[in-house]
């Protein structure tokens, strides 16, 4: 399910019986749990699991309001972002950089040699540090674009800014990350 949940599937099943509603919510949960938790943790830092559960409850309660003419991906991230912003505005949570894989980097790495593994971990930490340097809004934009592959218009809808602003921010993010990763230009395997 690389592209997520089908819009019409959510629309039709959320209006069906309790079982079909639960079934579609199960699919939503399975697909979004980790990515949404990561997004929320990027926004808020701290204990993001409670916030994630609240967001999912909101999604469950409002499934019937979803309009299938718009992307479900955009809809769910808009709910998550608005909910987090409410919490941040109330001063319940400090804004932070969120979940981290740990000092050692990712646990499962597909590398042949120890040198590659070390290089990969180093690269992972460099990217992590580079993303930490970005401000909160730019970090969200980077996630929505680079991981979720959203278009400028969709990101603009979630962030409630004009599409031109998203474009210029993405350019800034790319430049910042490129500068940080410049030292990896030479290493053939990771940056040919």
């Amino acid at each position: 399910m690389k592209k997520g949940i089908a819009n019409w599937q959510v629309f039709i099943q959320s209006r069906g019986s309790q079982e079909s509603r639960s079934r579609v919510f199960n699919a939503i949960w399975a697909h979004y749990q980790k990515r949404l938790l990561f997004f929320i943790s990027q926004m808020t830092g701290g204990n993001s699991e409670d916030l994630f559960q609240e967001v999912m409850l909101k999604v469950y309660q409002n499934l019937e309001k979803y309009n299938p003419l718009f992307s479900f991906n955009t809809w769910i991230y808009t709910i998550a972002r608005n909910h987090c912003l409410n919490h941040l505005n109330k001063g319940r949570l400090p804004a932070g950089s969120g979940i981290k894989a740990g000092e050692e980097g990712p646990t499962e790495i597909d590398c042949d040699t120890p040198e590659d593994r070390a290089l990969y971990k180093e690269l992972h930490q460099t990217i992590s540090a580079a993303l930490d340097k970005l401000d909160n809004a730019n970090r969200q934009i980077a996630f929505l674009r680079f991981f979720e592959g959203m278009k400028d218009g969709d990101i603009a809808g979630i962030m409630k800014v004009p599409a031109g602003t998203v474009k210029s921010r993405l350019h800034l993010v790319r430049q910042t990350l490129k500068k940080t990763l410049e030292e990896y230009h030479e290493s053939g395997k990771f940056y040919p």
Partner: protein
């Protein structure tokens, strides 16, 4: 490889390291849905349907000028 691909790989590695989360108890149950979202037919709906039928039936049989006048009258005085 582009910067975008590096970042995507980073995100994928980070996200795959997050453990599975269980839904909080009761989330999938009907109680989690607020009563305003639950579809329930109350006695008000039945009375409303009966009254509506009472208004509409004379309009349908027979369809003549008398019933049309009554139809307009309904909007003027609300009954």
């Amino acid at each position: 490889m582009k910067v975008e691909n590096f970042i995507r790989e980073y995100y994928e590695a980070e996200i795959s390291n997050i453990p599975d989360i269980e839904p909080m108890p009761g989330l999938f149950k009907q109680e989690a849905v607020p009563s305003s979202h639950q579809k329930k037919i109350g006695w008000e709906d039945l009375v409303g349907a009966l009254v509506t039928l009472g208004y509409l039936t004379p309009l349908l049989i027979p369809a003549n000028w008398f019933s049309f006048g009554r139809f307009l009258f309904m909007f003027r005085f609300g009954f």
